[in-house]
Symmetry: C2
């Protein structure tokens, strides 16, 4: 069976099941000119949107529908996490080429619904259309936060401690495995693959950070540590000093890098799509916040460097040498 047989409205009916996770705030879900919901009282609305295009962001043959859907929603939830918000409503637009099976599409929505259910997010609407060549997915996610708790990129302060909520570089290693067709069944490689394929948004961690006094700037790691900390530096007009020995690298990434003769710190710096949160915290608050974080999430809040007034981006190597680094992130308009 393909989409021709069931048509646009038949397809919408099939995927509409299981989309309402939190019906109490919803006035109108899928099926009218627009969706309608009641915003959280007194809170601001956060909005993020991501457009994923086949052959740019993913290869349809190299992913399951489930994983593609899961990750597509996850990267949006991660943006809400990086603002300190609660994710609430998601809107899915999809353009489908004729050769895309209905099984793949149902699997795609299954992946989104799984993650939506885990984080109490409604799939509240969207758009469905055809495409001549590529599968295209646009997701918009609305979240909410009290205005005074919203976390920005441009609010880092001198001598803040820079922290990461998780390991860096695993996702890039996972991408390497995919590109080079390396089986990832081992206990070491599977977590690297998963870090790339089904990343989890740090939503609860973002909310936690937003409620602490002393957390100043936050961004999620989508382009890579060097690039994303660079956004904080540029927008906050500050310098950055990172310590290579403090950058959290998983044992799995250490082993992977040892096997291929890669530098794990390079992987962490220039990688991307980790979707951990980078935050800058007042130095007199950071230990207290990190201790509470550990208690709450049973994972450390890694302290990896500090905000400086040098205006430079510096990496302190294990021998004490200081190297400057540049953002080496991804520019979407560098065609090659």
């Amino acid at each position: 069976m393909n989409l021709k047989d069931i048509g646009e409205f038949g397809f919408i009916k099939r995927i509409s099941r299981g989309c309402l996770i939190r019906p109490q705030s919803v006035i109108k879900a899928i099926g009218d000119d627009a969706a309608a919901f009641i915003p959280a009282p007194g809170e601001a609305i956060l909005v993020t949107t991501d457009l994923l295009v086949e052959r740019i962001h993913f290869l349809r043959d190299a992913t399951s529908g489930f994983n593609l859907g899961y990750k597509a929603l996850s990267v949006n939830l991660s943006d809400i996490a990086a603002m300190g918000g609660t994710a609430r409503e998601a809107f899915i637009s999809i353009a489908v080429p004729e050769n895309c099976s209905i099984d793949f599409l149902e699997d795609l929505y299954k992946g989104m619904k799984r993650l939506a259910a885990e984080f109490d997010v409604n799939l509240l609407g969207g758009d469905t259309t055809r495409s001549k060549a590529d599968l295209v997915i646009n997701i918009s996610v609305l979240g909410s936060a009290f205005e005074k708790e919203i976390l920005y990129r441009n609010t880092a302060q001198h001598s803040d401690i820079i922290c990461s909520t998780g390991f860096l570089g695993d996702s890039r290693a996972g991408l390497y495995l995919i590109i080079n067709n390396i089986e990832a069944n081992s206990n070491e490689l599977k977590p690297l693959l998963d870090a790339h394929v089904i990343p989890k948004p740090y939503l609860r961690e973002g909310r936690f950070l937003a409620r602490q006094g002393g957390v100043h700037a936050v961004i999620d790691v989508s382009d890579g540590l060097s690039s994303d900390i660079g956004h904080i530096a540029e927008q906050s007009n500050v310098g950055i000093r990172l310590y290579s020995e403090k950058i959290p690298v998983s044992d799995n990434l250490e082993k992977f890098c040892a096997g291929f003769d890669f530098d794990p710190v390079e992987y962490a710096l220039a990688g991307g799509e980790d979707y951990t949160l980078l935050c800058t915290i007042s130095p007199d608050k950071v230990d207290h916040i990190a201790a509470n974080y550990l208690k709450r999430f049973r994972n450390p809040l890694y302290q990896i460097g500090e905000i400086t007034d040098s205006g430079k981006m510096e990496l302190v190597l294990s021998d004490g040498q200081i190297r400057s680094f540049t953002p080496s992130g991804w520019d979407h308009f560098k065609y090659e």
Copy 2:
């Protein structure tokens, strides 16, 4: 100059100018992980989203960037109009193939900004990425409305009068002119072309209708009169009777149809993309509301038929004969 030269962030800087029309409600515009704004106090949030794909919804060679941008935003604003809402914030995702010029893109944003300024809408964020083949645009628009004033499709009542806020069929005639490469410089043809290329959203009219007691169901005409009134019929579980002589057909469409030997009522019924609002109004209120509408907008609210309990879709011809009709709208998954 092309996008390669200025890069993604250079492009975002260029298009960011003139995006903030109503800054007072905005907490964070373009430039962070998500946008943030203050919702209208006490009001519900409306959300609509539309995905436009090159070679499905438009031919890049056959449109100016300005007109494409204007229409892409307009069809979203029309959905907010059909809910009786006020349009507030727009989010633009765009996937750009290498052969798309920066002039075309700047013109595209110019078209969106022109319409946004006219209706007090902010362009508050989005996403920019590459594409291998087609230009893709996704627009999400957020609006607001008091919950009790929101207008739905499934609330038509028996013996309601069906009204249209404007002419029907002009847009389809405009499309005919484009497809057949017919010059549209004359005073008769130009308005038909404009109806297709730069349709105006009936936002003020939708707000007006929302505030009247007695307006029951509303939809905007995107798929065509027969199809869209069919959505109201199906979702409200009612029948429809339209009168062919009452269907508002412009003088320009009459002349166009006379010239090509087309039936203007067929054009109005099976056309699409008119973006007028169809509404159903309590029979004891309709004359009063129509009189106020005429006073306010200096255009009639056309009464074209009524809601019946027959469960049928009927068209009364000028000789009194009754013909049944079916929705002949556009199904996006009918590949051909």
